[in-house]
Symmetry: D2
Subunit: 321 residues, 4 copies
């Protein structure tokens, strides 16, 4: 059994990680570290777990674990690792933005399995991709991989309220968000960095803009993204490129049917649909922001890092309704 520790146990990604790992046949949760509520039952915070676990949050780190997951706010992963020495025998999966950009400062591998599986398998330190970055990268990287991105990419995506974190804010108040819609951080979302890094790695000469408008949807989970760009080939050619890119993917599928977000909510899947209009290729991409966009992908990466079958513990029943 893989002994796992979770650092920062109170947020959404930690909660999802707990839900997955408690059912994972090869993992034993060793500790859930929380400075804010040591000694309190985990099921008091993640209340769907009532009746399922007696785990308590702890303020003590056990450094003798096989893997730790960092479920900390952005910038806090780096701080945590500076302040705490982690054994070289402990693998680290970081869910924050802190190590997603490659650098000589650190040894974290970017964990998008569809494009980086071999490196992930041998990684000790893994940077789990951002939620928007995952949905959008899976929609456009096959074109970059085929060196076929020629022009600007136009992306519009909407995320659920869990995308904004557990802290209370005006735009996460129910009376504000219920039956509402808004965009934010247009053209300037922080995930554009990691998307750009992945694009350039695959198609180094690509220099055009990725125009991205993120939106706040009035639902809790999921990301629905559309991305279009000029593409000179026909639809069949595009489909072949994508199907080939994902032929070994465990959770990413190219389908022909019209998509809707709830097909993937509460699963680790990404569904992609391609359409061609005039000279433009439109790709629709849907994921669950907390699973394929965070904790599910983290476990997928952990499975790869420990030589397990990639889907272990991740064959999740969709909520669907």
């Amino acid at each position: 059994m893989i002994k796992a520790g979770i650092i920062g146990g109170a947020g959404y990604t930690a909660g999802e990680l707990l839900r997955i790992l408690l059912r994972h046949p090869e993992v034993e949760i060793d500790f859930v570290y929380s400075t804010s509520q040591p000694g309190k039952p985990v099921a008091g915070k993640h209340q769907d777990l009532l009746g399922e676990t007696d785990l308590q949050f702890t303020g003590q780190l056990n450094k003798d674990v096989d893997v730790i997951f960092l479920c900390l706010g952005h910038n806090n992963s780096r701080k945590f690792l500076e302040e705490n020495e982690i054994s070289v025998n402990t693998k680290i999966v970081d869910l924050s933005t802190d190590y997603r950009m490659a650098s000589t400062d650190h040894s974290f591998i970017y964990g998008l399995p569809e494009f980086n599986k071999e490196a992930i398998r041998s990684a000790n330190h893994l940077a789990n991709p951002g939620c928007f970055a995952t949905a959008i990268s899976l929609a456009i990287l096959p074109l970059a991989s085929a060196k076929l991105l020629k022009d600007e990419v136009h992306v519009n995506a909407v995320t659920g309220a869990t995308g904004a974190g557990t802290s209370l804010s005006a735009t996460t108040h129910f009376t504000w968000r219920d039956n509402n819609f808004s965009s934010y951080k247009s053209f300037e979302h922080q995930h554009l960095n990691e998307i750009g890094q992945s694009l350039t790695k695959l198609q180094p000469d690509f220099r055009k803009d990725v125009n991205f408008i993120p939106n706040r949807g009035n639902f809790s989970r999921g990301i629905h993204a559309t991305a279009y760009t000029k593409f000179s080939g026909d639809l069949e050619e595009a489909r072949n490129i994508f199907k080939n890119a994902y032929k070994d993917a465990a959770f990413t599928f190219v389908v022909e049917e019209e998509l809707h977000l709830k097909q993937v909510v509460n699963t680790n899947k990404c569904l992609l649909r391609l359409q061609k209009f005039g000279d433009k290729l439109l790709v629709t991409s849907i994921i669950d922001n907390l699973l394929k966009g965070a904790s599910g992908q983290a476990v997928q990466n952990m499975n790869l890092m420990f030589g397990l079958e990639e889907k272990t513990g991740l064959q999740l029943k969709a909520n669907y309704f």
Copy 2:
């Protein structure tokens, strides 16, 4: 024109009051008092008003107004009136709980127009009823008025998230409340006091329990209440009692159709439906908690206090969808 001041301008009830009074043909808003954001535009807080008003919050009271509305948190109305001297020529409409229970300490009249219209017309100080209290009182007071309450009353009601106020809390976070449902303060909701006061006033010998389970619904506005009790007459008799009780009501109607909450959302109406099952009479009652349950009823009371037609400024278009 009636010159009105609003004390405590940032909350839900103040916002609704502003929306109504800005369109009220006989009222001019003199000031909107807010200690938290003096000098800021009202439309910055109540953002639907962008393009409609240049009003700014003020930290200065103008005591030379015809009416002030107290839109303060509970306990704060009393405190405000202790700390600020209000002219005897200024009428006061208080939306908090502070003066709803009759007392020799104060001269506030309980403002449920359906049962207290004459007293309201001559009131200088008015205590506006609570939202649950309004929905439930309108469902059961006709029976008390006819001295026909004989047994316990069983009430279950659900309110929208605006019922919990603007402050952020775990149960008003979108990710918690979306697609969720829960009950709270069962048998102990504070509005039972004012309901009991109204019942006893109409049927002094009534001594049975009013059992009330309030619920949090995953919608923003409105209260849906069901109340049932033993009733020895038939349905026709019950309907006559209710229709008679509300024959002069401006906004309260007894109907035969099945009800659903959105019929009254964004209006000042109360719709009531009666059904008889065995020896029990079931009354369903729906209101908008912020209008008939707060700011709408406050303006209805103001209209009565100033001798205006009761519906003035309150013929609101339902949102309905």
Copy 3:
């Protein structure tokens, strides 16, 4: 008083029209024509009207009215006018798509008051714009009017479920749409025709694509649209162009604050926000699809056609929450 008839009384747009006209100080509803439910009470279908009106649907046309509103499904307005002779003294406001494209076949004037007010004032037959067309046109026509559209326009918009009409379908079933999101008719939405017609009228040499991805949101009312294109001027210049374009607009406002859809729901307003990123100008536009996008704009047009003040009967209280 203007005597009005409504043709096709059971749908969303007819319902909204009824809600507005019943409160309009200068209009008397003469009849509501419905072949599907003659003799039945209007409030049985539009159930928020219970207690407010005794109007009944009728299967009889009264041709002696001042104005008729056609609230029929697309293609059915033309059919209705072919089968029924309408007096030359009766003005016609058509809410369908049937007469929006100018043609020598008909005399209908396109009713977007912000760009066509004088023609509307003297129109006898008026084609009311589509909902998406209204939101998008108001976002981009000022640039066309200034002859400053130079490149493709990229539009993404989301509409509420009322946009799909009252008929039951898989994508309007609650269990499907609740907490869901999807796009449809990408690049091919029928409203692109009327948008293109308006653009070409203002800037005849404009030949670039308007790329439009419509989305189905999990809310009932409203349209939130973002549109961006290359713009060589700075933000100030853009704002001046827009503010000038809308300086006489009754309901369309250019604001600086971040927008969210519920600011305009249940109102006839359009709010617009401009931002500049690199060489692109982003315009966000929000309307209520049933009001400014349908029945509200129809009444605004009627007001203009009858020489009334443009806002009469349309100063609606937002639902907001």
Copy 4:
């Protein structure tokens, strides 16, 4: 491996059954029978299954299976079994109401495992309880089991839109149900029969009313029920009775925390909370109507009927947000 057939594959309960059985380690789905769409892919109807299964609906029954699940509309199970001869070696789990009431006409065992586990273990034909019946029975049967029901029981429960089935109707249209609330079938819901049967079996002298008001909530999944009745003991005594009643239950837990519906959505759990107010005991009960209230409980029963560990295939990750 248990070979399973599903009769009536297009509805909600069949979809949930498929989601569970496709992941069940001891079950192989032999066929999914649907007269309406033979030959079509199952994932075309239950679209979250895209990428996971190539199963097709079939119009052919394979009678050589170990178990069949009847996911037919009410009254259609009986009709199906009259028209089709099922092998005596095939166990039957019926999800309709048809065989829930014991009768000399049939041999179906009522499948509420918490109160009938031994009979279920040896059953060949099983009638799966109704969703409301499950939530309410689990809330009140421990008292009946202890012969402590003395007075009327007052029940109020709210169900999600999946409770109404997949057919389109006015009250399942998104624009109607969104942000709405209503009650229906008050005092007369059909599940009162099976609840009454269970009560009488445990406490044969109980003759008082169970007053039940069902409500339509604006969410998709789940039932939240409150039930109260007079109870002479104290809270501790009540808790002991309930904890004892459920000490061997696989999915039903008595907890002390305030409950909210999403704790159990997408799981097979029932959470119960007890409170005492004056002489009344209040029990709050939450389940997922499609899982513990239908397909999950059906699989739980199947596990028992085949001697498997009761939780096999049912340790589902909650959706929670």
